[in-house]
Every structure is written in C-alpha cells, then in structure tokens.
C-alpha cells in the first residue's frame, strides 16, 4: 500500500522573551546594567591601550618590554621596563615557591590530620588572614620582617655566598627580592591554602576509603590518590595566587629597591630588583605626559601578563571538572 507522505513536523522556535511591561522592564534593567558593566570595562581596556600606544610606537615594543633604563629627562626620553618586568616575575616566583609547600601542608593538616575543632578554628583563621589588606602586610614586612629577612640573607651569603643565587655585591641585605618575595608569600598563602582545602574537602570520600581498604598507608594515599585528583584544582589556585602576586604594589614598594638600568636575574639576597606595579607607583607623581603614557604602557604589559595567567588558570580549573561531576 502506498504510504501517504507525512509532512515532517515543522520545528517551532521556542523563545523565552518577556511579554508583559513589567517583565520587559525587569529584563531591560538587568541587561542594561550588565551591558553598562561591559561598556565600563571595555572603556578601560580601550583607553589603556590607546594611551599606551604612543609609548609602544616611540620606544618600540621589543625595546620597551625587554630593554633597560628609564630616563624621563632625556631628549628623547627613553623608557624600558625589562628589569621591572623580570623583577615582578622573580618576586612572584619566589613568593609562589615559598607559599605553595606551606599552603598545601596547611590544607592537608586541616583536612586530613587535625581533630574537628582545631580544623574548624584553623580554617576560620586562615580565611580571616586572606582578608588582611596588603598594605598592612607591607607594613609588617617593612617594620617586623625586614631585619629578620636581612639577617637570614646575611647568613646565607656567609655560608653559601659562592653560589651565584646567594651572592651580594652591596654591603647590606635589606630591600631584596628575597624579602619582597617572602612578604608576597605571606600574602598569598591564605588564598592558596583556602582553595586547596576546599578542593581536598570535595574529594569523594569513597576514593579515600578504597585506598585505605587496599592497605595503603597515609603517605601512599596522599601521593597517589589525593594529589592526582586535586592536581588541576591546586594548579589553578596557585596560578591565581601568582596573578595576585604580580599585581601587588604597595607591599613590595616598601621592601624592594628598584633598579632600572640592570637586570637582576637571580641574586635574590642582593638589594636590587624591580616590579612593574612599584615602578608605576614611584614615578607617577611627577610624570610628564610622555612618561605617563610609558607608565600606562607598563601597566598594560602587566595586565596582559596577568590576563594570560588567569586564562591558563581558568582553563586548568575547568579541565578539572570531569572528576567532580561524577
């Protein structure tokens, strides 16, 4: 029997659109607000780019980013952020290197070793410490830690000074990348510890039980079960801390000597270093128009660096989701 052709069903578009006046206003307001936020933020980015552009043109991007020297008074003025850029990175690296082992230990202690009341109290304390404004930590760094850090630097130099990383040409050990890095570490440890602890607490308890039931000791369970499952989340948290460290201004400004003409690649207990954020802070007050453009350009470079790191962090954290959604 011939089949009567059946019309394929016509797909109707389902639209979720506000119909009443009130709804239109509701959606309208929230959309307007969201778009305003966007406009505001885009404005910032565009403006920064525009004002920074002359500097990139005059100095040449490569020369600006990787060269040395900051001579505003020269004719023509010469601006390069090389030592500052590397300095930011160096201080941030020192900070992260010091902070990560401490933060993970703290998180492990809270989640897997401490009795409940102590775990709770420590968690509150760590969360509170994450909220301490960085200027206060900078003050502590300057007034309390600097002499201690300088003392340690001196001892390192006395005993291990032959190793380039611990060499020192000046006679004092204050205002060094080491001290700045240490202060930054104190700042980001609570952040990383909080995130790591959160990740540890979300690990499926069944996995730990499975590991224990197989006869694992504490260290095996940590190294082979807990860490692999938490790895991407922890890395994401570390990168977030790193981005924060790069943007840190005042605290570093208090405890670091800025040297514009030379790269300090690795002499961490020597009083020479740099940081872009501190550069901006130190120069903006009496800056001429061109110098301001240069400072903005430096800010743009720093911003781009933090953007890249934040993007990588989000990517890594997103990749970690499959474990958690199971």
């Amino acid at each position: 029997m011939a089949q009567t052709p059946i019309d394929a069903p016509v797909r109707r578009t389902l639209r979720v659109k506000p119909t009443t006046i009130e709804d239109k206003i509701f959606f309208g307001i929230s959309t307007a607000a969201a778009y305003s936020s966007v406009v505001l933020l885009l404005l910032i980015m565009v403006f920064l780019g525009a004002r920074a552009l002359p500097t990139f043109e005059e100095q040449g991007i490569v020369e600006f980013v990787f060269g040395t020297g900051w001579q505003a008074a020269n004719e023509p003025p010469q601006f390069s952020i090389g030592p500052m850029l590397w300095g930011s990175v160096l201080v941030a690296l020192i900070g992260v290197t010091l902070a990560v082992p401490m933060a993970i230990s703290l998180a492990y202690f809270i989640q897997f070793m401490a009795p409940k009341p102590i775990a709770r109290a420590t968690t509150v304390l760590v969360d509170l410490l994450a909220a301490i404004p960085s200027v206060i930590i900078g003050l502590w760094g300057l007034a309390v830690f600097s002499p201690v850090g300088a003392h340690w630097g001196q001892m390192l130099n006395d005993s291990l000074g032959f190793i380039p990383i611990f060499s020192n040409t000046a006679e004092n050990f204050l205002r060094t990348p080491f001290i700045a890095g240490f202060v930054v570490a104190v700042m980001i440890v609570p952040i990383i510890a909080s995130i790591t602890r959160e990740i540890f607490s979300q690990i499926d308890d069944d996995l730990i039980k499975a590991s224990v039931a197989l006869g694992a000791n504490r260290e095996s369970t940590f190294r082979k079960v807990i860490l692999p499952v938490s790895a991407s989340g922890i890395v994401g948290g570390v990168l977030l801390g790193l981005a924060r460290a790069l943007g840190e201004t005042v605290a570093i400004f208090f405890v670091l000597n800025l040297i514009f003409d030379d790269f300090n690649w690795f002499r961490i207990i020597s009083p020479e270093g740099g940081a872009i954020a501190s550069l901006i802070l130190s120069k903006f007050g009496e800056a001429s128009e061109t110098e301001i453009s240069a400072l903005l350009a430096a800010g743009v470079v720093l911003f781009i660096l933090t953007l890249i790191i934040n993007t990588i962090a989000s990517f890594i954290v997103a990749k970690a989701q499959p474990w958690r959604n199971r």
Binding site: E22, D23, I25, F26, F27, I29, S30, T31, A33, A34, Y35, S37, V38, L41, L42, I44, L48, R51, M102, S105, L106, F109, T122, V124, D127, L129, A131, I132, P133, S134, V135, I136, G138, L139, W140, L142, A143, V144, M155, V186, A193, N217, A243, G247, T249, V250, I276, A277, I280, F284, E289, L295, L296, G299, L302, F303, T306, I309, N310, S314
Partner: protein, 360 residues
C-alpha cells in the same frame, strides 16, 4: 537473649591500645629533637632559624622516621616523614601569619586611644607624639570613598549577576569572560587609568570620588561573580514553582529567587567591600591625603586609612610609624567586622531555623 543496649565500656577503642614500649618511643621521638634544638639555640648560641631548619628538622625527621620504622615497619617511614613535614611547614606558616596579626594588634594597640580613633591630624607634624591627632578623618574618608564605590558597584554588579543567571541573553558568555579578565586588572593600573583620564586632562583635581571610581572595576567582578554563583545555587524547582503558579518572571525573581539567595548576595557585597577597603594604590594615584576632616568627596583632599598608613610609613619617623600601626589596627578591625558579618550572614540555614524556633 536480651537485646537491651549496654552502656559503652570505658575502653572501647582497641585500635588505640599502645604498650609502654611504643608510647616511650613516640615520646622520645617527639621531644628529644626539640630539646636538642632548643639547647643549641639557647646555650650554644646557634641562630634561631638555623637551629630550627638545620638541627630540629633533620633530627625530627630521623627520630620520627626511626619511630615509624620501629612501630610500623617499612611503611611507617614515609608516613613519619609526611607527618613531620606537615607539622613543620604548617607551624612555620602559622607563626608567620600570626606574627602579622600580632604585630598589628600589639603595635597598634599602643597607639590606640579614644582620641586616636576620633581626632584628625590637623595639628600634627611627623614627629608629634601620639597624644595629639588620630585617624578620625581617615576613617570617615575610607567610609565615604568605599561607600560611594559600593553605591555604584552594587546595583551594577548584582544586576549583572542577575542578567547572567536569570536571562537567556546571548552575550552572557562574553560578559563572563570580560569580568574574569578585568578581575586581573592590577589595582595600581586602575588608579593610573583614572589619574590619566581625569586628572591629567584637567577634568578634575585629586578628589575622593575619583578614588571611588578607581575602586569600581576592582569591586565589580567580585560582586557580579558571587551574586551569579548564589543565584545559581537556588534550585530551579523553586523558580518553577513560582512560574508554574502563573507569576511573571520579575515577580518570581523578587519574591522567590532573590529571598532564597539573599544571604549569598549580601555576602557578595560584603566580600566586594572587604576587597577594596584595604586597597592603597588606586587611592594614592587619585586622592590627595589631607590632615583635616572632610566629607567632601568631590573636591579637596580626603584621607583614607590605607593612604594614611602609606604616608606615615613613608615619613619614616618612629612616631609616624607608630601612627601607621594604629591606623593599621583600625583598618584591621573594620575588615574584621565585615568578615564577621559575611560569615554571620552565610551561616548554615539549619542554625537560622533553630534560632527562630527557639525564639518562639
């Protein structure tokens, strides 16, 4: 056989049995290294950090490692190392963090007095003793500047969060990415942006409201993101319930979703404020710190707590640094209040329900 429950005997944890030998081993392993290290520090004049790192740590690792081996065999050694390192690093970092808190409290307390909290610094020179002058003007300045920021950011941020969760707008993805990007804006760059756009061009002189403006991009992503997350946590069933009863979207939102997410949104706001209340760099580039009390955010100098701290630290005199500590303590107290409020607001719902029941 009777199945009445029997009271739990005093010793019901056989896995915790330890004999004299293992107790002794554990005690020796934990205390001997500390004793040796303390002796080295106090009597042999070894520097503290050296005795901790080079004497205590290795000795403790060895001692606890041996104890682990004696008590649990080969598998006990890595466990011992893990435990020692965890305690070691954890204690080290807690000492540092508590040191920060303690310094602020100790040094700040010395400067604190009713006069310090309420007076301003009109008659104060860098070397004036602490009997005169205070942070009153800075506290007011901070409240004004941050308050203004909050006034602008909260509606924007919350509404953006609403847009991201409650609507089907096509730009949601883009907006999220943009918010994430701006969250990485270094605070000093935000300040420099306002400086070069409005001060250098002559639109305005240094003023409080410029500082508020600079704080907005720093606060906005936090408020929007946390609002979005709390709204997201509201189960769809709740919304469906309201919509199913015929309520229009806006009513469903205002009467069902928002109240359910209320504590989350309040937390978002508090966290946003806590984030910027201590920001220094953006204020340094946009405001001019004055010694008198002013409530004019649109003109003239306005001191804020972070800039106060910065300025007095930069002066370098003993008295000025003391003032800085005092201001730091006041700032810390403010942050603590915000933090406590955020925790109170976001406490588990079961506790809130219990408290309500008890009231009746």
């Amino acid at each position: 056989m009777s199945v009445e429950a029997v009271a739990r005997p005093k010793f019901a944890e056989p896995w915790k049995k330890t004999n004299q030998r293992s107790k002794l081993i554990q005690i020796i392993a934990s205390t001997v290294p500390i004793g040796i290290a303390t002796a080295a520090w106090l009597f042999a004049g070894v520097d503290l950090i050296v005795s901790v790192l080079l004497v205590l740590l290795p000795l403790q690792l060895i001692a606890v490692g041996i104890a682990g081996f004696l008590l649990k065999g080969r598998r006990g050694v890595p466990d011992a190392a893990l435990i020692v390192m965890t305690y070691f690093l954890g204690t080290f970092v807690m000492v540092l963090l508590v040191s920060v808190l303690w310094s602020v409290v100790e040094a700040g307390f010395a400067a604190l007095s009713p006069q310090f909290i309420f007076q301003n610094n009109v008659y104060v020179t860098p070397t004036t003793g602490l009997e005169i002058g205070g942070v009153g003007h800075a506290v007011i300045g901070t409240l004004l500047v941050v308050g203004l920021s909050t006034l602008v950011t909260v509606p924007l941020g919350v509404a953006t969060g609403v847009y991201l969760t409650e609507t089907r707008g096509k730009s949601r993805g883009v907006i999220r990415v943009l918010l994430q990007a701006i969250a990485g804006l270094p605070s000093v760059v935000a300040g420099l942006f306002v400086y070069s756009m409005l001060i250098v061009t002559g639109v305005s002189a240094y003023a409080g409201w410029l500082g508020s403006l600079a704080l907005v991009p720093l606060m906005l992503p936090t408020v929007a993101r946390v609002t979005e997350e709390s709204l997201r946590l509201v189960p769809q069933e709740l919304r469906n319930g309201a919509l199913g009863l015929g309520a229009p979207s806006w009513r469903a939102f205002l009467m069902v979703t928002l109240p359910a997410a209320k504590s989350g949104v309040v937390t978002a706001i508090l966290l946003g404020v806590a984030r910027v209340i201590g920001e220094t760099a953006p204020l340094l580039t946009t405001t001019f710190a004055a010694n008198n009390t002013s409530i004019n955010v649109f003109d003239g100098g306005l001191a804020t707590l972070p800039t106060y701290i910065y300025n007095y630290v930069s002066l370098g005199f003993d008295t000025s640094i003391q003032r800085a500590w005092g201001a730091a303590l006041v700032l810390l107290i403010l942050v603590g209040i915000l933090f406590g409020a955020a925790r109170y607001v976001s406490r588990p719902k079961s506790l809130k329900a219990k408290k309500k029941k008890e009231k009746r």
